[in-house]
């Protein structure tokens, strides 16, 4: 495992706010903006962006061995929080990560649709494991291709792959190596029933080998099986932090009100 961790604390999130500025551009085109600037220049100049406060004052820690489930209704900010933690928002005040992060938000990714599954496997291996050596990345791609059982299809152009086939290859690559902080957002969707059993076992093994995990899923059974902590997000804030069974009960009751 490529790890840079030195202490037990893998992630520290302290007083994190995520606010998006919206409406200034939303649903508009340059043509509309040009027309508005000519017809109502005052209104155009006075227009101020509105703020969409997604998360407010979020604080929690993850230590080695923590498998955290983020639970909340759609649009509550789970994915935005994970994107901020993974560094996709750039340097974010209030987030300290100790180690390598791998964050996966979708499994039916096409990097180069014109190229074959084999070529895309090597590309994905390079993009997901850039800190590994060239030889290790090659081994990851080759092993994932074998695990994915795509057979002769691996030589076909990726654009002809079904969503399930793309998911097979992608899941095989992402589950090849554990890491310090693993973020998985609804990753079990997509692959077919028979392959799902095989890949679920492999992803669970990777989760066990990774130092800490943040897991987003709407499946209570999976959360119970994989996680040992739950955070419930509601109306921009953390409303529950604790054990899995209590967390899921709290979430159920919260949404029955």
């Amino acid at each position: 495992m490529n790890s840079t961790s030195t202490s037990n604390n893998v992630l520290e999130v302290k007083n994190l706010d995520i606010t998006y500025k919206t409406s200034l551009f939303h649903g508009r085109s340059l043509r509309d903006a040009f027309i508005e600037a000519l017809t109502s220049p005052l209104k155009f100049l006075m227009r101020r962006p509105q703020s969409l406060e997604l998360l407010k004052d979020i604080s929690f820690n993850l230590e080695k061995g923590d498998r955290l489930a983020l639970v909340g209704v759609n649009g509550c900010g789970k994915t935005s929080l994970c994107r901020a933690i993974s560094g996709m928002h750039g340097e974010q005040k209030g987030i300290v990560v100790n180690g390598q992060i791998r964050a996966i938000f979708d499994t039916s990714v096409v990097v180069q649709p014109e190229l074959s599954g084999t070529e895309n496997a090597f590309i994905l291996s390079n993009l997901l494991y850039p800190y590994f050596s060239k030889k290790q990345r090659k081994e990851i791609a080759e092993e994932a291709l074998e695990f994915s059982e795509l057979g002769e299809f691996q030589h076909s152009a990726f654009k002809y792959y079904s969503k399930g086939m793309k998911a097979r290859l992608f899941l095989s690559i992402i589950s090849a190596k554990p890491c310090d902080l693993l973020i998985l957002d609804e990753v079990f969707n997509g692959a077919d029933e028979f392959f799902n059993e095989k890949i679920t076992k492999r992803v669970k093994e990777m989760i066990q080998q990774s130092s800490a995990v943040i897991f987003i899923s709407h499946s209570a059974d999976l959360v119970k099986e994989v996680c040992n902590k739950v955070i419930v997000l509601d109306k921009t804030q953390i409303v529950f932090e604790g054990g899995t069974d209590e967390g899921l009960d709290f979430y159920r009751k919260l949404n029955k009100k």
Binding site: Y20, L30, S80, H89, G90, R102, I104, D106, V111, L127
Partner: protein, 254 residues
Amino acid sequence: MLNKEMFTIISTLTSSEMKGRYRNTWAGFMWVILNPIIMFGVHALVFKHILNINMDRYYVFLLGGLLPWIFISSTITMTAHTLITNREVLLSFQVSPMAILCSKVIDNFINFLAPFSLLFVVLYFQEGFNILGILSLPISMLLLVITGYSMSVFFSILQVYFRDTQYILNFLVSIMYFLTPIFYPIEMVPKSIVWIVHINPIYSIVRPLQIALWDYDLQLLSIALAKALITCILSCFLAFIFWRKKRNELYLYL
């Protein structure tokens, strides 16, 4: 920050972009480099032989102006929709939008260098070049690529917010094509409107290449390089500020 990991990501994306574009064949590569050469030939035919434009070393003039113009205009227009077309990748895992844009610009630069080098070699034996002018080419090309990249960053982010950016950009680029002295000399532009040429950022970035190859003069080249450097710094500054300001909302609007 360009570290080893970023280098791996950019080189992977660039090579996959090239493989995808050339379809792993020599014919695919030839098709990509033939495009600027055909444009070069058509311009030479129309302006030199049909409209009889009175200029010495016209082919060299075209090499120094038209080919860099094709590079920078195609870079801006082709990369404008890059973030939108790569939204699945960007939303799926941690890959920097800047790395994807960088790979597109490098791929386009290689596509520019191939026909440029070919024509350069042919014209070197036919017309000859000033050796100091040739030595200045790497600096001029570096400024060209960095400016092209920063403009790509700006317009591709703008495209995420305003989905008609690319159409307007195509329109503006076709207007700029006529207003940039790349197939006619600046001396032909009436004095009353020559300021339009001087405020044209693309002309300021292309001009050092024109001087280095066509009408080399150390003083002229120094002034042109200074202007190109200012244009490059300003466009980088603008792109950086825009990226910093919009990067969080980018994922919301993709």
